[in-house]
Structures are given as C-alpha cells and as structure tokens.
Symmetry: C2
Subunit: 319 residues, 2 copies
C-alpha cells in the first residue's frame, strides 16, 4: 500500500503534472501578478469532531487551513470558495449558519471575498472542501524548493500547541469549561499567519517556505527534499509551548513541537544576508531562528545538548 | 427548514456576496480576460454508487460536472483541482488510480491542466470536490441573468437520458451486461458540452445560459427568475430520448426530460436576430429551439397539444 506522498509523486510523474506539490499551485494572472490556489478537504471525525468543537470554529478552521497555504507562498489572500456536505439532521439545525459565521468572520478579517461554493447532502458525516486563492508579484511566489545551504531556518509562533490541544480534547477537556481555551483554540480554530507570509513574500525575504500542517519534522523534510538540501536544527531554539503542570497525564511539549501537526505556523528559510532586514520588517512578530540549511541532502540533524542525532519525519499522514 | 436555494439567497444578502449564484463566479484576470471558477461536491451514495458505477466513470463525472459549469458561462476550461477523501479500505484498492484515469482522460480531451488537489481519509464514504476554472473574453461571460422577452430558448442534445439511466440502475440494470450502455453512461459518465459552450461565448451568441443539472423545469425557472422574465416552451419541441419498449416497467421519457436532473446539457437563450448565425456556427450540433422568453416574470408556460399549462419547477434539490 502506497503512502499518500508516494501516490501523489507517482501521479505527478504519470500525468506530467508540473504545478502540484507545493502549498499552492502558481498560475500566471496578468503581467505583474501570479495567482496561487489551494484546496483542503476537511472530514468529520478525521479533521474535526462535533463533540469537541463548535460549528463556528469549524467554519473558521476550514478557511484558516487554506489561508495558511496562501501565506506559505508569500501571497496575499484574495478570494475563496467553500463546498459543504451535511446529513439531513445537521441541515435542520443551525450548524450551517454558525459555520458560515465563523468562516465569514475570518474572511472579513483578511479581506477575502467568498465567491462561490456548493451545498450537498451526505449520508452521515459532514465534509467540507475549502478553496482559496491569493496574489503575489510575478515569479515571486515562495516555493518549498528554494532553500540553499547556509540559509537560516525560521519558524513563526510557538510549536506543538495544536497537538497539546488535541491531547487535552482526547482526554475529555471541554472547551466551555476549560482553563486552557487558548491551547484548545490552537487545535479548534487556528490562526493562519497570513500577514507574516505576505510580508515575507512582498519583501523578498524567504528563499523557501512551507506551512506547518503535518509537523515540524515532516514539513522540514518536505522542504529539504524538494530543495535538495539537508538541515541542522537546535532543540533549545525550537519555540515550544510553556509546560502545563496541572494535568493528570504527562505531555511532552518538545516531542509535540517536533512532530505534532496542525500548528499552521510558517517554516521558512532566509539568506543570512537578509537576517537584519528580516528583524526590521517583522520586529513585532515572534520569529525563531531554529537552525540552518546544510548540503547533506535529505539529512535532518537535531542537536540536543551538543549531541547530534538524525531526525526521522514523524508528522501526520492520512495513509 | 430552509431549502438550499433560500439558504444561499439569505447568505448572499447577509454577507453581501455579489459573485455567487451563477454556474461560476466571474473574476477579472487580465486586461482581456476574465476567469470563471466553480466547485462541485460529489458524495458517495448521494451522487454516485460504487455498485452502479466504475471508479473510472466516477473520475470522469467529477470533472464533467465542473466543466459543464464552465461551458454554461461560455468559457473555455483551462485548469482544475480535485480533492478526494476515501476510507482506508478503498485506499488499499486500485480505486484512486482508476478514478484519476477517468478524470485525466477527460481533462486531456479538453486540454485542462490538473494543478492541485488534496487527499484525505474519511470514516466511511468517498467524497470528491471538483474545482475547475475557465477563461472568457472580458465582460463576455454568459450569465443566467441576460435573457430578454422574445429571445429563443434552446437546449443542446437530448434531455432525460441521465434520469432514464438512473431508473435503469435503480431497477438492477448492470453496466457490464446492459444493452443500454449509452443511457447508463448519460448518468454515470456524462459528457460536458464544453465545445458548444465555448463557441456560444466566443461568438457572443447566447444572452443567458445555465447547465441542465437539476432538470429543465428547475433550471429554466432559475434562469427566468434571475433574468426577471418568464418562458413559454412547447412540449413537441423538447428533445426527449427515444422510447425503449422492452422494459418491465414504464418510463415516462417526457416527464424525465422535463424534470430529470444531471443531463449536463446546456439551456441558453438567443436573440432572434442571431438565429441564423447560431445555425451557421453550430450546424453540426444538435440544438433544439424549444420556446421563447416572455415578459411574464417567473411564469413558465408549457404548451402541450395547443393547451397551455403552468409548469412548476420539479427538478432535483438536496434540501
């Protein structure tokens, strides 16, 4: 049985698909602008659960995951579509109304115009397909493939929060009564780094970029594979969530920062010459430099307490 | 409980959505060109059944329904994306491979480039979201809203075939053993009228257009409502499928031509001044003039044997 990555790789080769494989496809728009487009499927009980989330959060998340892909191209989001399939019993509730409330609230925050969609019936489970498009200066879309040995590796925000939130939900934590709403929201209604992504693209700061949807170890491996580079990252520089001590069960924040998915932060590489400019353009944002790109193709080294070990990709995959 | 049409109408008003409501959204591309975009959700056991169809047909149909929407704007299809969610047991078969075979075969026929997509796991049923985009000369997209009293009402092909195919399948007809494969294919692997749609748009022939996905009575009502017109159509001019006499059960070909969905033929209106040019440009295609647009807003008249009755929309809807 093929992994989904291998399957998609085969598909690309079999049908000579040249525009797939990055966070978005890049298409020519006009003389000055390229269009980037992405689609993300969200399925009930795989990507969200009704007893953990709220319809409004699900609407927010549906758009957020696509805006994160747009951000990862260094583009500015412009328009979106959303298809939603629900069983009859859900149609009769206010689910769809509340879903659109969460969706449209995020859309309006980022000035994204909802231009279309589809509504369908399903036998049992809710399914959502989220499509979004953004614009970027011609030939300036930031691909996964541009990293060079010596580039700094950076991430936005803190990593592992979405996975910690998931652990809490799996252990019965309820959003309404939780003291850790911020961590649950990292999982239930993540915020896409649309602003930072756009600035990185506009100012030509990133040589390569990917959004952290599968987990740092996986996504860094994707980036290195297509860039034909390796990477060395330092454990102490990885921005983990603060420890929560009050739980019955232990949460390994560091492991979740490495391999927990769905943070929807950005992982990008920057030429050391632009380090100062990066500081200036994003001075109020949390950006961590966690290591550097190496010439050891597809080898990801993790340095912990001066000891180096090889990091295997351990992030999320469907198949 | 709101119908899906009413729900979408409310959504448009609540959030001031101006680009939704036609077969595709129309977006500015460059100085000469507009982009049209559409998305269609297909759900197992609602839109297709594994025991009736073949994975290859399902792939074909997924793209076909979206290309039909592009055609209905008078546009030329250019690129597409497809998201597919399957349960683990289906992933292990050759379903996804065969699905893409059918999808790519149709894509290559119409020179459509697959630029992206998503693969996900589902708990039980297969879901597919099909996204396609086309190009049309600036401001020349054919909307549903352009029909004027006096315009001729035309349809492509024959109507009701997809619904007859569905009746046969519901009555146990198997594709492999069937003597009526062509009718079953109308349902299982419909052909979008991409060529005719593009010509109608390019030559500026149609004043309004919609694809016949819900059924003639419904889709004509949609077109008349947004054009703020009525229509008078003539029963004897509606191109039905030929009667099949050898069945155990009776099929009312005329009713199915009126209200059976999924024919994916085009319904369009033409100024009588352009009737001759229409004949010339599409001389080898089956185009039937079935009536004319009237000023009786939202009244659809059906003339049978010189008697006129009011036609209520009776096509397909999910909710």
């Amino acid at each position: 049985m093929l992994s989904e990555f291998r399957f998609l790789e085969n598909l690309r080769q079999k049908y000579s698909l040249t525009k797939t494989g990055d966070d978005c496809a890049v298409l020519p728009k006009d003389r000055r602008t390229d269009l980037v487009v992405t689609t993300d499927l969200l399925v009930e009980d795989i990507d969200f659960r009704l007893d953990w989330s709220k319809p409004e959060f699900i609407g927010h998340k549906a758009l957020a995951v696509s805006l994160s892909d747009i951000a990862a191209m260094g583009a500015k989001p412009v328009w979106s579509m959303v298809s939603i399939g629900v069983p009859e019993k859900i149609w009769k509730t206010d689910f769809v109304d509340e879903f659109y409330k969460g969706y449209m609230n995020l859309a309006q925050n980022f000035d994204v115009e909802l231009i279309g969609g589809d509504i369908s019936k399903t036998p049992e489970k809710i399914v959502i397909d989220s499509i979004a498009a953004g614009e970027v200066k011609k030939k300036k879309a930031v691909l996964r493939a541009g990293a060079k040995a010596g580039d700094l590796i950076c991430v936005t925000g803190r990593l592992g929060g979405a996975a910690i939130g998931l652990r809490l939900l799996e252990n019965g934590e309820k959003f309404e009564k939780s003291d850790h709403k911020n961590l649950l929201l990292r999982q239930l209604a993540p915020n896409p780094q649309a602003e930072i992504g756009r600035i990185l693209g506009e100012k030509n700061l990133a040589t390569a970029m990917i959004d952290l949807s599968d987990g740092l170890s996986s996504d860094l491996a994707h980036l290195c594979r297509v860039s034909q580079t390796g990477a060395k990252i330092f454990a102490e520089k990885i921005p983990t969530e603060s420890k929560i001590l009050s739980f019955k069960f232990e949460i390994d924040n560091f492991s979740l920062a490495l391999s927990g998915g769905e943070d929807f932060e950005l992982l990008f590489t920057v030429s050391p010459k632009k380090n100062f400019q990066l500081e200036k353009e994003l001075e109020n944002r949390q950006i961590s430099r966690i290591g550097e790109i190496t010439a050891n193709v597809e080898i990801i080294e993790l340095v912990i307490d001066n000891e180096t070990r090889i990091l295997a990709p351990e992030g999320f995959r469907h198949f």
